[in-house]
């Protein structure tokens, strides 16, 4: 692989981008920009459909049943059909709801996830933008989705929605701190906040991935990331904001049709983004796993990076689904206890000890 130029806008550094630059030297920037956004939009609209199908299938097989089987091969088109149904359904607004905020709220989580998606390094040369402070950007932008949930809860004029939104707000803000500290750890180790360079810093064999570096600390950090991000995603066992057995539907109780679909889709894209970030930080991102055996390594290197990225991301997504269909739900006070009294101190200790390890040069 050739050394990359130092410019940080990457969308065009692949074959298509070069071709367009060659054909239209003047408008290449705009055409390439449009193409990247369009392809990302396509991904964002296909991903949740697939992920919802996957979730249902994984759930079904965990529960010793088959799940969707009728629409398409093994129900592959089931979520497409459901999505279409949701689009054509009437959008209801409860009496006394704040119309503007009520319809604004579902767009915010969707926007936030889309914005974070732009900095995910899918491949060496497949990334919409790679800002130098990518980690900070990811943290900041993903917080927008909290706003959407809070607004939804407030605007619905429903006590269940309000309870769900308040729970969710408290939960996401708390766990954001843990998440930020773990990201800080990675930034400290790699010395860069650009997601692409974080991936490139793990170049080498599997043992160079951050999950296996720093004897055990990398693994602990990964586990903590998984806990915090599950809470951040409002997924079981931390799905207290939409706990259907307590709050019927949480913040989304009053939403129907496409506005509910927006929340639902955003949730799944968010899961992909979170898993993608885990892949980037801990699992070597788009890098092929190298195990030190020449022939296998060469074969793995032959597979394009974005396939590795998706494979690893879906592995992490499978973990999220595994949690969801195994654990009972925690209570709201237990969740706060977990964050403020256990995860946060543990995070700080982890950060300090990693700093110590780093200073002593025990990165391995």
């Amino acid at each position: 692989m050739n050394q990359l130029p130092t410019n940080h806008a990457f969308p065009t550094h692949n074959a298509i981008g070069e071709l367009i630059r060659h054909l239209f030297p003047g408008g290449a920037v705009y055409i390439n920009g449009f193409l990247t956004i369009a392809s990302l939009l396509l991904l964002v609209s296909i991903l949740p459909v697939f992920l919802i199908w996957l979730e249902r299938k994984v759930a079904a097989h965990f529960q010793a049943r088959l799940g969707p089987m009728r629409v398409g091969y093994h129900g592959l088109l089931q979520s497409t059909a459901d999505g279409l149904k949701l689009i054509f359904k009437e959008v209801l607004k409860p009496e006394g709801a704040d119309t503007f905020v009520f319809f604004l709220a579902p767009t915010l989580p969707a926007t936030a996830t889309f914005l974070v998606m732009t900095i995910l390094p899918f491949d060496r040369h497949l990334q919409v933008a790679d800002p130098a402070g990518g980690v900070v950007y990811a943290l900041g932008v993903s917080s927008l989705s909290i706003l959407g949930i809070l607004l939804a809860g407030w605007a619905s004029n429903n006590k269940y929605s309000l309870l769900g939104a308040m729970r969710s707000g408290a939960q996401m803000i708390s766990f954001e701190i843990s998440l930020a500290l773990i990201m800080l750890l990675i930034v400290m180790l790699t010395g860069t906040a650009s997601l692409r360079e974080i991936v490139l810093s793990q170049n080498g064999t599997i043992l160079d991935w951050w999950i296996f570096k720093l004897p055990f600390l990398g693994l602990i950090a990964f586990v903590m990331y998984m806990i915090s991000s599950t809470a951040e995603l409002n997924r079981a066992p931390f799905d207290i904001s939409e706990a259907e057995s307590e709050l019927t539907g949480g913040f989304a109780t009053e939403y129907s049709g496409i506005s509910f679909a927006m929340f639902f889709f955003a949730e799944f894209v968010n899961m992909f983004v979170s898993a993608g970030l885990a892949t980037t930080f801990f699992l070597g991102g788009f890098l092929a796993p190298q195990i030190g055996i020449g022939a296998i390594d060469a074969a793995f290197n032959f597979i394009p990076g974005f396939i590795w990225f998706f494979l690893k991301t879906f592995l992490v997504i499978f973990l999220y689904m595994w949690f969801r269909w195994t654990f009972p739900r925690v209570r709201v006070d237990q969740l706060m206890y977990l964050e403020w009294k256990m995860l946060l101190p543990a995070n700080l200790v982890l950060l300090m000890s990693s700093g110590f390890f780093l200073a002593m040069g025990w990165i391995l």
């Binding site: 529960q63 009496e95 307590e246 269909w325 009972p328 739900r329 209570r331």
Partner: protein
């Protein structure tokens, strides 16, 4: 009646829902409000309605509202013959319909002095215990789901399905059985019954271990149920609780042991009791009850006799003038059947003493002071069936 439209924008702060004494505290720092849970709510299992006074997330007071599935079972029973009434008892606690049938038949047998042949008694005990396991399996699955572990629901149903199949073979019904008759049951068990029960016993041993790993030993589950919904021994007795709710509070009272009916006195089983009276005690106790039911089944399978399954059938069941009472231990507790007869083919009055009604009345005692999520946990471990509360 006030038919003015309700203003959703500004609810009346002085409104006191029925059952409560005070309106909400309306100063600036107060976070008190009334929340209506049900009758359409995922965790009230049917059409129970709870009005909850909350302070933020904390439950201050709960008032249950009944009557959403009231079908006047007791009144209907006055207009039907004694035999026709058996199917009404199915519709009380539909998860232990065999045991309800049994309770009603026991009262008639007591009145007419009908004996039950040996085989008939064995069928009764075995079917009752199968029913108890079946009911507890559903409860286990559903209470897991109430706590957010959806998978338990389907795992519980896996074994439950086998038992339901046995019932279907017995009497053609999977839910409302109408199987027992005064003097035995309306049909003999098929030849496949004993092998199938053996299969259930074998599977239940494995399943109970699996459930332990899946839910009981889960740290989140333990933390969710620990020290939640504690009902003291005195309170449990004074509210008239029965079944697992009473035994979890430390009172060893099981109708099968303390007032044996049918041939329960011949079997060797334990009556598990709790110590604290909290949600985890109630949960653990019900799990133990399943193991004990399996134990009874194991003994019954070994000594299952041949012979007639029903004593002589009467052309018409006319109870002599008098008052008859029988009680059985359903999956939920003590079900009393009280019949006032005037000599005719129809009862003068039938009254059921349902365990769920008494157990539910202790809800406020348990839930006040806990979080709203704990209210759901308590509802799950109370294990009520709403049609039995309303009748």
């Amino acid at each position: 009646m006030n038919l003015q439209p309700v203003n959703n924008h500004r609810p009346d702060r002085n409104y006191i829902p029925p059952g409560f004494k005070n309106a909400i505290n309306d100063d600036e720092t107060s976070e008190e409000y009334f929340l209506n849970m049900g009758p359409q709510h995922p965790s009230t299992h049917g059409v129970l309605r709870l009005v909850v006074k909350l302070n933020g997330e904390n439950v201050l007071e709960v008032v249950p509202h009944l009557g959403y599935v009231h079908r006047s079972v007791e009144k209907v029973a006055e207009n039907q013959t004694y035999l026709q009434n058996i199917h009404l008892t199915d519709r009380l606690d539909y998860l232990s319909s065999h045991i309800n049938n049994l309770g009603y038949c026991l009262a008639i047998e007591q009145a007419l002095d009908i004996g039950v042949p040996e085989r008939g008694e064995y069928i009764r005990v075995m079917v009752s215990e199968l029913q108890r396991i079946q009911s507890h399996l559903l409860w286990w699955g559903v209470s897991g789901m109430d706590l957010g572990a959806v998978t338990t629901f389907l795992y519980g149903f896996k074994e439950r399905e086998i038992i339901t199949d046995i019932f279907e073979e017995l009497c053609g019904a999977r839910l409302t059985m109408n199987f027992f008759r005064p003097g035995g049951s309306f049909a003999d068990v098929p030849n496949t019954f004993i092998p199938r029960v053996r299969d259930v016993i074998k599977r239940m041993h494995l399943a109970l271990d699996e459930y332990k790993i899946l839910l009981t030993d889960n740290i989140i589950f333990r933390e969710r149920t620990r020290a939640i919904g504690i009902l003291s021994r005195e309170k449990a007795l004074s509210y008239g609780c029965s079944g697992a709710v009473l035994r979890a509070s430390g009172v060893s009272y099981d109708v099968r042991r303390n007032d044996p009916y049918s041939i329960y006195d011949r079997f060797d089983f334990e009556v598990p009791t709790g110590t604290v009276g909290g949600c985890f005690d109630r949960y653990q106790l019900k799990m133990e009850e399943m193991a004990q039911s399996v134990r009874i089944l194991e003994q019954a399978v070994e000594t299952f006799p041949n012979g007639p399954y029903r004593s002589r059938e009467m052309p018409a069941y006319k109870l002599p003038r008098g008052i008859y009472y029988s009680q059985v231990e359903t999956a939920r507790g003590l079900l009393g059947t009280y019949i006032v007869a005037e000599g005719g083919p129809k009862p003068y009055r039938v009254k059921f003493r349902s365990p769920c009604f008494s157990n539910l009345s202790a809800l406020n005692e348990m839930a006040a002071g806990h979080k709203i999520a704990d209210l759901v946990t308590i509802l799950a471990t109370l294990d009520f069936v709403v049609p039995e509360i309303d009748r």
